[in-house]
Subunit: 275 residues, 6 copies
């Protein structure tokens, strides 16, 4: 990827490009609040890469978030820049994901975890409701309100199996998630292997998406985010206008010429311009 | 069903009446956009039939939807007439349901599929976000936001098992859905059998509902659709007013006289007037 | 619990204190509408107890709800006092939970059921849409809209397995829920045992929560209820203001001093003041 | 009005019945917070009277409202019972209406003032945003957002002319409102006269409304309140259902028989049943 | 206007083309409910005309609207087709505008009245809340909630002066509106003259708008309608997407080339393609 | 104001401090889009000053806004930083305020204009709907929807009198606004005088507000902005929580000790800490 200027890697995160158009952000020290805030702020600037993979782990209860002053407008710094990033973001979760790790992953589009990952919404232990978004987002992400209240009110730990069953994580990794991780002597080694597999699963998905029209990919993300917060009727109106706006891009023409939409045309893979 | 005028069957769909008060609409050529638009437009006119079953299959990527003009108000022709149809609609999904097949089924109330059905939200391959409602509705139908983004952004195929696990389809057909369809030499024959079973499952449900008070059935559908797009408080207010409006119908009296609501009354099955 | 005045037990419900700060409300005759309305009205007054467990069973179709007059503002008496009760409420469901039993449980925060519990949304049999909240709440609680319409429109019975799979109940009791209850000669005895186990599971959760900061517990409940009915952006703003309000309580300080949020501090269990 | 039990007059307010079906509540000591809270709580119980007139004056900055605890659900006791009272309420404002007097009047349906009345939204002087509803309601009542911010942020006094021009008060009293009140030696006497005239204007309106169908009057109030907080589309749906509910009342039939809706029928004034 | 097919004039309304691209719909017998419903249904089909002027008068209380059945989805036939018509609509109101005349005019974009016009929201006299939209729309149109409740709850008549002051009508006709209409012997002749002047004022406005880009005119109407029912944040997002969609039209280019947006270009009036 | 670092004055705007805690931002070349964007971005950083006065004039149609790309999330750069600035902002409007001048002023809290100011919403002349907020905000600011559509659809000019009558500007300058500006030979000199008076009116208001508790002032602004976009019920809940958050600030105590809220305490002007 010679055309990229030196990536903004820092002491808090590593940035690599494992595939064309796919960036991998590894968060080094998530127990530092700043580490969480810094990478999202710059994620949007890696303009040549449609996918990002954030890889979060955390071994201690989260540091106390700087409480927002009651007289200033509410600010939740970590989340908006991630959520409004137009590119799809996959969170790969492994190890212990507590508090801020969960907050952060809920701003991603996909959540994949390793079979031995452990989770907890820990804020209730701080004598404080969750500050950076879990309580606002978890109920919209997971399809069992009773479970959402269970884990948020009790701060109890839950494992990968439960995370998958109740809708916190998703996706093909389920086969391994559903097997209870065997606790063996080689557990540590197993965890490294698990993480590798999870990241590779994420990369495979990212690679598929990277071959699609960026206009359609980013539009789909935006429309799904909009629809989550609006009625079906509002979703349909916004979608119709959005489609009108997209028609002027070249990608629709490319898809049509490639045979994606007509019959009797030779089918071939369209090549889209990267944003 | 001698009292019915000749049903509006056409080259695009067949209409039959397998049970009293139950209509079965079979969509013949769903790869034609018009085929999708036409039946819903007339569905509402089959006034003696409380249930409708739509049976959709599709073997090719969807035809390009006529893009909505950016200067006219948004229009999504297929969906509103289905969704606002006061009668319950069951979609039976088999074969390959791509793009428009999914759009259409999301306007139905129940979704049942055969164990070997395959699905994909294909619009991202057109260089265009989904035009006719999937992005606005799928997130409200399925209880795992991570999975919704996965299949909408990647356009990857998913099978019946996954459709059931993540909430796109529902219902008693799960036993067979959960068994991985065995690929045998008699696969084709198996698919026809599967479809038959799925339709028969749908008919059984339809038959149960056809014996209920149409006032209550249609009110329940309307209230669930309203509540999906409103807060709980708004749902409660709307429900209370709706109930007030319903009290003037004869069906409540019939249910009460039949013993449904008091004690010490002889229990018998009430007979409701058909709408 | 000597400091408690005589509990407001009545012919319709029993109130006991199985654990410190945990109240157990057993509803005796849920087939009476008043029984459902009465306890919630007074629940809030048991101020020393952060948790409440409601234990509902019902063997007959629900009594006819007094229909709300169309000219008075809508009123749904049972639900608001339960839902706005600031303390977490667990509903333990066993036996036959029909109509009002489901309405009531949907106002609780957690729903746990015994493996042999049976459920039905019966209102459609009354020629009337559900009056006291099921249609407004079930779709926000369970993550499969197709299933919600199925059981609400058909009034069919569903069992514990299905209730868990589709998101009506949650929680650790799943292991037994997922095993089909064997119908044996000792079934009746088994049901009593089941109920005991379910209540004990609920008490264990309640006991954990009772050790947390009541400020954080009640804030978490309020924020999750708010977020269910608002956009993510509104959820984030409300949360930030709420956190500001909470900072003035002593519990945050206690949690911080106990080492919950800093590093290098001795970890110990903070003791919170009970509300 | 012999059929009325002794009215609940107290040290904080006087209740009289100047006209059939019209109650007049005079608030004696509005500088007491409790005075404001008490009457609304019981207003709803005067069931034979469709109209209420509240008459508020206040000469001092409002007493400090008991701050709502951050951990209990928000409560604004005075306003809900007034706003949800199904009967129309007219606020007659005279003298100095500061803080709570404005909060209270914003829960009424009509606001009429005397030409020499003075107003101020005083809460900003307490180092506290307005607690009991002015900030939530004034912007929905008055049609000039710039003016609303002006008086709320500066706490400056404004007079009757300005109140009318910018939409805080309305109604026929405008002729006198628009004339600048002349400051004469007989000012005090003039103020008493003014108040009398304002109340008499309110009574005249109340008398007209008292002759209408209570079903339609209360429905109109409810629908206007609903529409204030919802989209036009939601307003239309709610209205249609509400109308359906009302059709079962006898009043529609009475209006129709009286000639209100057909042609060729003898026109006469229908007599409606009082709620 | 030779290119127009014979206009769909009927016994209920006259259609003329007083100016290029401006249609004038005169409603003949508004006391017939059907008359109100019919023209809007076809308004949208006069595709060459960007403006429409509806001219409504009515001398009797409105006919009873066919009450919407409580079990069918709400339908308000007259209004949606008017409100969603993409072209601007001016309502010229004269004579007595009661009930349906007001309902209809509230779906228009501009309301202009003659100085002697009289208005009343009459539905409360029918023992029924307004069925076709006044209660849902008037509060969003007029900037004084106290006045809205006054006229809707009392059904009292109000004149042009009051209609202008409180925001029901707008616009340049104010000079004459503000003068109290003198009751002279030649009143009838005066009314005809007044109507002529009001229509001519409307035509002047229509003529100005007909010279603008239809894309921008219709977009502006749509965005204002959207913003009325959404938050500012939602308005900004929808606007930004809408603008993106519009950029592909030729009109933006024409405006730019005409010098509207750059400097140093010769200013001339752009000519836009008519929709 | 010695404690201030050198103010960030630039070629596009001048910043002065005419009064303690009051900043005056004069926008020099509003015809440059960047000029509009730049000052708001930094306004928030002048932390010692609670009030800001923006002074906008513009003599030419607005420059073409950079159209937002349809595939990036909507961005309206000028407005959010102004609207979310926690301090009150007064816009003083004089000369010709077209397009962007109106967009900008609608983000302010108060709008004051000189009697000879002229306004137009010019975007419709660009073949483009307004990009930076007028269509989303004007209808929420002005209390006459018919007038809002009139000026937005026709792009016609309107004067100060009309701006005041229909709710675009407000406030004490009305006396002069209501007098038609006489066109004299000394018009130019008159305009300079007018501007001076308008700014001095704004400064007087700013000076009053600067003496209030900044906590209450900024809370009031935030709550009014929130309430504009939410239902009354949501406004009340947010207000109650906000008040809870504010109670921990010192300003409430100061106001109480100064006698603002108790009786029998010596009244004196409290001194609040500046934010």
């Amino acid at each position: 990827m010679a055309e990229l200027s030196s990536p903004p890697t820092s002491q808090y995160f590593n940035l690599t490009y494992p595939l064309p158009y796919v960036a991998h952000v590894e968060i080094n020290r998530p127990e530092k609040l700043n580490a969480f805030i810094e990478p999202p702020a710059s994620i949007d600037s890696y303009r040549t890469n449609p996918i990002h993979i954030a890889n979060t782990t955390q071994n201690t209860p989260p540091a106390s978030p700087a409480p927002s002053s009651p007289t200033s407008p509410p600010s939740n710094p970590a989340s908006p820049s991630l959520e409004t990033c137009p590119k799809p973001i996959i969170a790969v979760l492994h190890g212990h994901c507590y508090g801020l790790g969960i907050d952060l992953s809920l701003c991603a589009d996909l959540r994949i975890c390793t079979p031995s990952a452990k989770f907890a919404v820990k804020e209730v232990d701080l004598g404080l409701a969750a500050d950076v978004g879990t309580l606002s987002r978890l109920g919209k992400v997971a399809g069992n309100a009773s479970w959402v209240k269970d884990v948020c009110i009790s701060a109890r730990e839950f494992d990968a199996q439960e995370a998958l069953r109740f809708g916190f994580v998703s996706r093909d990794y389920r086969s391994s998630c559903l097997r209870r991780p065997r606790i063996t002597m080689r557990k540590r080694k197993g965890m490294a292997k698990e993480k590798e597999t999870a990241i590779s699963t994420a990369l495979q998905w990212a690679s598929t998406v990277a071959s699609k029209s960026p206009v359609a990919v980013q539009g789909t993300k935006e429309l799904l985010n909009w629809s989550r917060d609006h009625s079906v009727a509002d979703g349909l109106r916004y979608t119709a206008v959005w489609n009108g706006a997209m028609l002027q891009t070249e990608d629709v023409g490319r898809a049509m010429r490639a045979g994606g939409v007509g019959k009797g045309k030779e089918k071939k893979k369209p090549r889209f311009e990267k944003l």
